[in-house]
Symmetry: C2
Subunit: 564 residues, 2 copies
C-alpha cells in the first residue's frame, strides 16, 4: 500500500506489417492490425497492394507502385524502429526486390508469410515474384509457408498430389527441404492442410520437443475433460491431428500438435499467425521455464486457434477470425494526469444526488452554521463511538483478509490508529459532559447498527476489494464534509468562531485527516488500476458504495431526528 | 448455477470505414480499425488513398482510382451490411461523387469526418473536392468538422482570424451555420481548436443540456478530487475549457464540456472520434436514463479524450493515441466447442506432474490393484469422515457468501447432500468394523486438518470464486481417480473382482458422482467465462488450486504412511 500510483504510460512494442489490404477486414493488414492490437502492441503498415475482397473471394487487385511502397517503408522506419516486421502479400517481383534491398542493411527481425494463394483460391503472387523471393530470404528470421507453398518453394515432390494426403514423414522432409532451399533462418511449416495420426507423431518421441495442445505429457490424458477424451477417443492410427513443424538450419526443433478446429471461418489465418509470431517475438518474456522461442510459437499458434474457434458469423463465405477474443473491456479508463481518479470519479458521479444528500446533509449544514441542537449532536457523537469500534474491527478484518505483510501492516496501522483516536473521541465527548461509561452503555441505535454491521458483513462475505469499498465512503465523505464546510466558512455560509462544533469542523478539514483521506483515495485507485474491474465487477463495487453512502446519510438523519 | 454455459459466439457489430491509409498507424483506417477493435465491433475498410506518413508529417500521397474505390465498397456491401459507415479522407472530387451516388440509394447510417488538413498541416482535400462534398451531405447522419473546417464549409466569418480566439457565442453560430449550409442531419462541431471560459458556458445554462466531463451537476464541485479542484481553481472568466457543440436542424441540442488534455500526441484524433461515434451508435443501449444519442456522443468523446490522455511515447512528432486503453487481456481464451474447458485445462496443465502425483498416487494405484493394506485404508477413511464435515461446512460458507437465492440453494443443496452422504460413509465404515463413535473420536490427523482448514480459511479470506477454487480439486480429482481406475481395470492394471475396495472404486466412477463432477466443472467454467480473470487474478486462483492438489496428495500420503 505504500507505493504510489504510476501514471506513466506504458510503451507498446512497435510491429510493422508490410502487406496487402483486404477490404473485407478479415485478412491482410486489417487482420494484422487487429492481431497487433490483441497482443497489446502498436501497429503500423506499409501497403503493397489493395484488394476488393470479401468472405466470398477476391474481386479485384490494385497494385501499389514500388516507389510508393518504399516511400511508406522509409517514412515508418525513419520515425520509430519496429521491434519486428511482418511481411505478407508482396504483390510482385519489383516490390519484393526493392524491399529486399531495403532490409539487407537493416538488422530488424523479419517474419515472412509467403502469401501466394488466397483462402478462396485467388493467385496473389506471380511466378517471377516467387523467383524474386530468393533475394528476400537472407533477411528472413521466421518463415511460415503452408504445405502447398512449401512444396512450390522447395521443389519437394510428395507421393500424393493432394496436400491432405501427406504423411508426417513427408512433412518433416518438406520442412527441412524448405529451410535448406530458401535459406530462411527458421521455418515453421504450417500443417493445416494435412491430417496426421497420433501414431505418426509418437514415432518422433524423444527426438525433439513435441508440444501438445493439451499439455506436454501427452501420454497422461485427463479423463474428466472432454478435450482430452476427444483425443483418446481417436484411435492412435487414425488421422485427425494438425502438426506444425519448426526447423532451423535443416534440423527439426519442435512439433506443435493439436486437433483441427472445425470451422469455415478461416479467412486470414495465415496473416494472423505470422503477425502473432511477430507480436509474440516482441512480447514473450525471455525468462521462465524452457526455451522462450518454443513458448513464443506456442502462444502464436494457440492465439490463432482460439481466434478461429471463437469466430462469429460474418459474411456469406469463409468468415474472419475473432481477433479480439482475448480482450475484455475495462469498465474504467486507466488513471492519467488528466484524470488521476477515474474510479472515485465514477463512484461519485454514478449518483451525484445521493452523494450530495450525504455530504451536504441538513445535519452538516446546521453543524456548520452552529444551529444544530446540542442533543442531536450528542446523540450522533455517542453513536459515532460505537461506529468507530466497528470501523476499527473492519480494518482488522482487512488485515485478516490480506495476503502480504505490507497489507497486514497497513490495515493494522489504521485499526490501531482508530483505537488510539477513540481516546480523543472520549475526551471530546467529556467536553460535552458525556462520560466513557455513558458512551459504552448507550444502546446501538438501528441506523448505526445497520451501517456498521453492513460494513463488517460485506467484508466477511466478499474479498479484500469489497471490504476496501465498504470502508471508503466514510473516509472520503468526512474529508469532503470537512473541506466543504471550510469553503462554506470562506463564503460566509458557515462559521467557526462561536460555533459549538468548531473543533469537530477543524478536525475533519485538518491536514492530518486530509492526508489520511488522500492516502485512502490513492490506495483505492491503485488497487483498481492494477486489477481493472470489468462491467459486472464495477457494478457490484458501485452497489456497495451506494449502500454505504445511503447508510451514512441515514446516520446523519439519526442524529438530527434522534432516532433510536 | 442452473444455466449451462453458452458457447455460441457473440456477433460483432460491423463498422465500415472509408478513408485513407496512414503508414505510421496513427490516423486513417489504421486509427479507425484500432478504434473499432476497442469498441468490440468488427472493422472493414475501403481505401481511398494511401499516404507515406509518420508522426512528423505526410511525405507522399497515392490516390486510389475511383473505380477501385467503388469495387471495394460494393465488395463489402454485397457481403455483409454494416451497422454504420464512417467516411474520412476521401482524396478527390471524383471519389466523393462516386460514393455519394452509391450511398444515395442505401439506408445506411453514415458519419462523415471532413478530413481536409492533416494535424501536421498537409492539405488532404483539394478545392473541387470540397465542392463535391455537397453531393454527399444529404446522406450524412453525423458530421464532425473541427473549427477551421466548419469555417471553410459554412462561410461564417469570426471576428478573429485565429480559431483559438473564437468566443463560444461565435462557435454556437458557426455550428448552426454549418448544419444549415451543409444540410448534414446532425453536426458535432469539435471545439478543440478554441479555448472557452466557464462563464461563457454557464451563460447557456437551462437552454439545452450541458454535459460536463466531471458529471452533470457542474455547480456541485467535489472538493476531495483534484479533477474537480482543477475546474474550480480556474476562475470562471478564464479560458481553458474545450466545448463540442451538437446541432440538429439548426438547433443546438447539447454542449460537451471538458478540460483540454495536455498532450502532443493528438495525431489521428479526428479519425478516432468520428469512428468512435460510429461504434457508439452501433453499440449504445437504446434503453437507460436520458437520451441515448447524448450518451453515445459522450461515450465517443470520453473514449477519445482518455485515448489522448493515456497515450505513450511513439515517434518523433505528434504521436498516436492509445486506442487500446480500455482493453485488458483475459488470461484465458473463452470456452469454445473446440476447447469447452479452458479454465480447468489451464489449471491441470499448469502443473501436470503435481496433478498426476495426486490422481495417480501410490495409494490410488495400490487401492486399484487391491494391494493397499487395510489399516492404511481404514486410517484414510476415518480421516475422510472429518474432511467431509469440513467440506460440507465450506459449502455452507459458500451459501453465506452468495448474493442470490440461486447460489444459496446450489450451495446448501451440496452441503445437505454431503451431510446425507455422511450416513453412507458411516455405514461403509461399519462394513470395515469402524463404528460412528470411533469415527467421531478419531483425532484429526495433521494432513487432514491442514487441508480442511485451508479450504475454510481461503473461503473466509477471499470471495466466492476463491472458495469455488478451494473446493474444486477434491471434486474433480476424485472424478479423475474414479475414471482412471476404471480405465486401469479395462487395461488389466487394476481389478474390481475380489478387491476389498470395489465399492469405493465403483462409487467414484459411478454415474451419480460423475454427474456431480460435470456440474461442478460446468459451474466453474461458466463463472470464469462470465467474469474472465486477468493475469494477476488467474495466478491467485491457480495458486489455490496447486495448494489444494498438494494437500490432496498429502492426504493419500497420510493414509499410506499412517501419519497422525
Amino acid at each position: 500500500m505504500a507505493s504510489t500510483l504510476s501514471l506513466a504510460p506504458r510503451k507498446r512494442q512497435h510491429i510493422l506489417t508490410i502487406a496487402g489490404s483486404d477490404s473485407g477486414g478479415g485478412a491482410g493488414i486489417q487482420a494484422d492490425l487487429k492481431t497487433i492490437e490483441a497482443f497489446g502492441c502498436y501497429g503500423s503498415s506499409v501497403l503493397t497492394g489493395l484488394t476488393a475482397q470479401n468472405t466470398k473471394g477476391v474481386q479485384a487487385v490494385h497494385e501499389v507502385p514500388t516507389d510508393f511502397v518504399i516511400k511508406q517503408f522509409r517514412s515508418v522506419l525513419s520515425d520509430e524502429p519496429p521491434a519486428c516486421i511482418k511481411l505478407g502479400m508482396l504483390t510482385n517481383a519489383s516490390i519484393i526486390r526493392a524491399l529486399a534491398a531495403e532490409l539487407k542493411d537493416l538488422d530488424t527481425i523479419n517474419v515472412l508469410d509467403p502469401v501466394m494463394i488466397s483462402t478462396s483460391g485467388h493467385t496473389l503472387l506471380p511466378e517471377d515474384a516467387i523467383e524474386a523471393l530468393k533475394d528476400l530470404y537472407p533477411s528472413i528470421d521466421y518463415f511460415t509457408p503452408n504445405i502447398p507453398e512449401a512444396i512450390r518453394l522447395s521443389g519437394f515432390s510428395p507421393k500424393s498430389s493432394s496436400s491432405s494426403d501427406l504423411t508426417l514423414r513427408e512433412m518433416v522432409t518438406l520442412a527441412k527441404e524448405t529451410n535448406i532451399k530458401t535459406g530462411a533462418f527458421t521455418v515453421l511449416l504450417k500443417g493445416g492442410h494435412a491430417s496426421v495420426s497420433r501414431e505418426e507423431v509418437l514415432a518422433y518421441k524423444g527426438q525433439f520437443p513435441i508440444l501438445w495442445e493439451e499439455g506436454d505429457e501427452e501420454s497422461d490424458a485427463i479423463e474428466v475433460l472432454s478435450l482430452y477424451k476427444k483425443y483418446t477417443q481417436i484411435p492412435e492410427h487414425q488421422k485427425g491431428l494438425v502438426v506444425d513443424i519448426l526447423v532451423n538450419q535443416g534440423e527439426i526443433q519442435a512439433m506443435y500438435v493439436g486437433k483441427k478446429v472445425d470451422s469455415k471461418n478461416t479467412h486470414g489465418t495465415g496473416c494472423t499467425l505470422s503477425t502473432a509470431i511477430a507480436c509474440a517475438y516482441a512480447t514473450e518474456s525471455r525468462e521462465g521455464p524452457g526455451d522462450w522461442n518454443f513458448r513464443m510459437f506456442k502462444r502464436a499458434i494457440s492465439y490463432t486457434q482460439s481466434a478461429i474457434a471463437s469466430s462469429f458469423p460474418f459474411g456469406q463465405g469463409h468468415g474472419p477470425l475473432n481477433h479480439g477474443h482475448l480482450s475484455v473491456k475495462r469498465a474504467l479508463p486507466p488513471p492519467t494526469k488528466h484524470n488521476p481518479h477515474p474510479f472515485l470519479s465514477h463512484l461519485i458521479q454514478s449518483n451525484l444526488p445521493l452523494w450530495n444528500s450525504y455530504v451536504k446533509h441538513p445535519f452538516v449544514v446546521q453543524l456548520g452554521k452552529g444551529t444544530l441542537p446540542r442533543e442531536c449532536f450528542e446523540h450522533y457523537i455517542k453513536q459515532d463511538y460505537h461506529y468507530l469500534k466497528h470501523y476499527a474491527r473492519a480494518h482488522a478484518l482487512g488485515a485478516y483478509k490480506a495476503n502480504s505483510f505490507v497489507d497486514i501492516k497497513a490495515f493494522t496501522d489504521i485499526a490501531g490508529h482508530i483505537a488510539r483516536e477513540s481516546e480523543m473521541h472520549v475526551s471530546y465527548c467529556e467536553s460535552f459532559g458525556i462520560s466513557l461509561k455513558e458512551l459504552e452503555a448507550a444502546p446501538e441505535a438501528s441506523p448505526c447498527a445497520a451501517y456498521a454491521r453492513y460494513v463488517i458483513d460485506i467484508g466477511t462475505q466478499g474479498d479484500i476489494l469489497d471490504l476496501y469499498m465498504a470502508v471508503a465512503s466514510c473516509l472520503v465523505g468526512y474529508g469532503e464534509v470537512g473541506l466543504w464546510l471550510k469553503s462554506q466558512v470562506e463564503k460566509g455560509e458557515a462559521k467557526l468562531e462561536g460555533n459549538l462544533y468548531k473543533r469537530w469542523m477543524e478536525d475533519y478539514s485538518g491536514a492530518d485527516f486530509l492526508r489520511a483521506v488522500e492516502r485512502g483515495i490513492e490506495n483505492l485507485e491503485r488497487r483498481v488500476a492494477e486489477d481493472p474491474p470489468n462491467e459486472a465487477r464495477l457494478a457490484r463495487l458501485t452497489a456497495i458504495w451506494h449502500e454505504c453512502v445511503r447508510l451514512e446519510s441515514a446516520f446523519w438523519d439519526m442524529g438530527l431526528n434522534l432516532i433510536k
